[in-house]
């Protein structure tokens, strides 16, 4: 059983048809497998098919064709077996507003079959980890959006399901809590839990994921670990220059080089280019003649560069 991947997807297709509208192929022939105990990131721009894929894997919707197995069970013919092995944070807010934070956590655990003694033993620790202990008795409807999200994410730490799905989990979280949740997710993966997440915040994926699948328009664009993906974008360089004062017309000049990314903030210019090494160095040398440079940094592609380059290929012109 241990050789079975946590998730196995083959030729998955999901078509949404509405009367009077043309059909939308939200997922278009995806195939992938996720190893047990890994942190798997599903990345893509808006409408790429990430959430639809997750909704199929978590048995919320059925695929139009293809197969998907979670923990060795088919999501269509054995949905109950799948649900017994997963815990899910959906993209939208999902909490019982009329119940307290404590009741939300306990209720979730109860659905997953935990006995009252197990719930009692676990709940205070989870509430403390999410800084909810002092507000445990408050109705969730009286909490801010950020705290509601905390309650929602905290629920998955009440149970020990072997697979956890998180759809844009960090939405509405402050950076300190986000760091702590990411550390907890890494710890869960180290214990053997498989974590599957979708995100558009690439630094999250860069920091967390062992394995990344980039999708666009329902199809695979690239797949691999962070280093493998960065190799796909070989020849991409990131240059960051800080001037004592920004030379006039520099931004327009750099835009004419058709960079993958260009951002100018006060006196710092950040540019990502797909060029040869010596041309990038030439550019740095030319720029140094334009003004006094306080800091120069030249590096390889970031995940964001890879993402922009790969997904832009499929973008409508």
């Amino acid at each position: 059983m241990s050789s079975v991947p946590a998730i196995e997807v083959r030729d998955l297709v999901k078509v949404y048809s509405r009367r009077g509208e043309s059909a939308i192929r939200a997922v278009d022939g995806l195939s992938f497998a996720v190893a047990r105990g890994s942190i798997f990131g599903l990345l893509g721009p808006n409408g790429a098919g990430k959430s639809t894929t997750l909704r199929i894997l978590t048995t919320q919707i059925r695929p139009t064709s293809g197969t998907a197995r979670v923990a060795g069970y088919d999501v269509v013919s054995q949905p109950l077996e799948v649900r017994r092995r997963i815990a899910v944070v959906i993209q939208e807010q999902a909490v019982d507003l009329l119940l307290s934070a404590r009741d939300n956590l306990a209720g979730f655990a109860r659905f997953h079959g935990l006995a009252p003694t197990q719930i009692h033993a676990k709940i205070d620790g989870v509430l403390r980890d999410f800084d909810l202990f002092d507000q445990a008795g408050r109705k969730v409807q009286d909490m801010s959006g950020g705290f509601r999200r905390r309650v929602q994410v905290a629920k998955i730490f009440m149970v020990d399901t072997p697979i956890v799905f998180l759809d844009e989990f960090s939405t509405g979280m402050d950076p300190i809590l986000k760091r702590s949740v990411m550390a907890s997710l890494r710890a869960e993966a180290a214990r053997g839990r498989t974590i599957v997440l979708t995100t558009q915040i690439l630094s999250e994926a860069e920091e967390l994921c062992d394995d990344i699948l980039i999708v666009n328009r329902g199809r695979e664009v690239a797949r691999g670990d962070l280093n493998a993906l960065k190799l796909l974008s070989s020849g991409v360089y990131e240059v960051s220059l800080t001037f004592d004062s920004l030379p006039a017309g520099l931004e327009e000049e750099l835009a004419r080089l058709h960079p993958l990314r260009l951002s100018v903030s006060r006196s710092t210019v950040e540019i990502a280019l797909k060029e040869s090494e010596h041309r990038v160095l030439d550019l740095v040398s030319q720029l140094s003649a334009r003004g006094r440079i306080l800091r120069v940094e030249v590096g390889g592609a970031s995940l964001e560069d890879v993402f922009v380059e790969l997904t832009a290929k499929g973008a409508p012109q």
């Binding site: 978590t58 048995t59 919320q60 919707i61 059925r62 109950l80 649900r83 017994r84 997963i86 899910v88 959906i90 939208e92 807010q93 999902a94 909490v95 019982d96 507003l97 009329l98 119940l99 009741d103 209720g107 109860r110 659905f111 997953h112 079959g113 006995a115 109705k139 929602q152 799905f165």
Partner: protein
């Protein structure tokens, strides 16, 4: 705890947050019987087909049927609350079948309906002197439970498929008008025009209320009641399958 137990527990927790609501649920049929039943009885000197029976004795079954209907539509409406909270979609990933989800949602409310019926029947006998046939009470309890569940499944079809709260409210208003008034809930059907009677006899509310009338005051003919019991059973089964299909279609 089983998934069914967990969902009943959740429904109970949510309902208990509003004790006023529970108080209203438990006592409003009795209030209806006291105000409307006694009012009609005294104002119109009601007489059922030459029988000496008073209106509140006749209306007791109607008020129990109305309460089942009301609890069922309120319970089905809670799908909208779950959808607004987002918890509806999360619950679709919980380790339970869609059938358990439907059953669990209605079970706690069946308990409320049973307590409500016990209060109404008990006080209507004690205060209004309704001639309750006590030995038939278990049958009455079964009809209240099955009736509440059947109407919940029926309403759930619309609550799941109609995604707009205001559209669902319009549907329930129409249903209240058509189902309750074109039935034997408020008046005996025999004196009514033929067309009206035909519609009323095809109405599941009539079947349920006639069965409740038998189970509370012992009135009704055995042949017709047997037919109505079978018809109501089929109605419940079809409604359950319809709600299940709607939930599966949604997911």
């Amino acid at each position: 705890m089983s998934a069914l137990g967990a969902i009943v527990h959740r429904e109970a927790k949510i309902r208990i947050t509003n004790l006023m609501f529970i108080f209203w649920d438990l006592l409003y049929p009795l209030g209806y019987l006291l105000v409307f039943g006694v009012g009609i009885d005294r104002a119109l000197h009601f007489n059922v087909a030459g029988d000496a029976s008073d209106y509140h004795s006749f209306f007791l079954a109607g008020v129990l049927g109305m309460a089942s209907f009301g609890i069922a539509s309120n319970t089905a409406w809670s799908f909208f609350m779950d959808r607004d909270n987002g918890i509806f979609f999360e619950m679709l990933t919980y380790p339970m079948s869609r059938a358990q989800y439907l059953l669990g949602k209605v079970l706690f409310n069946v308990v409320i309906a049973l307590v409500q019926a016990a209060v109404t029947v008990g006080l209507s006998a004690a205060v209004l002197g309704v001639p309750v046939v006590w030995r038939l009470l278990p049958t009455g309890a079964a009809i209240v439970a099955i009736g509440t569940a059947a109407w919940f499944f029926f309403y759930a079809i619309f609550a799941i498929l109609v995604r707009q709260n205001d559209a669902f409210n319009s549907i329930t208003s129409i249903f209240y008008f058509v189902f309750l008034f074109a039935s034997s809930m408020f008046y005996p059907l025999d004196p009514l025009p033929r067309m009206f009677r035909m519609v009323a006899y095809a109405n599941p509310v009539t079947w349920q209320v006639d069965l409740l009338r038998y189970a509370t005051t012992g009135t009704g003919s055995a042949g017709a009641l047997a037919l109505e019991a079978v018809a109501f059973g089929i109605f419940m089964l079809l409604s359950f399958l319809g709600a299940l299909a709607a939930l599966r279609r949604e997911s």
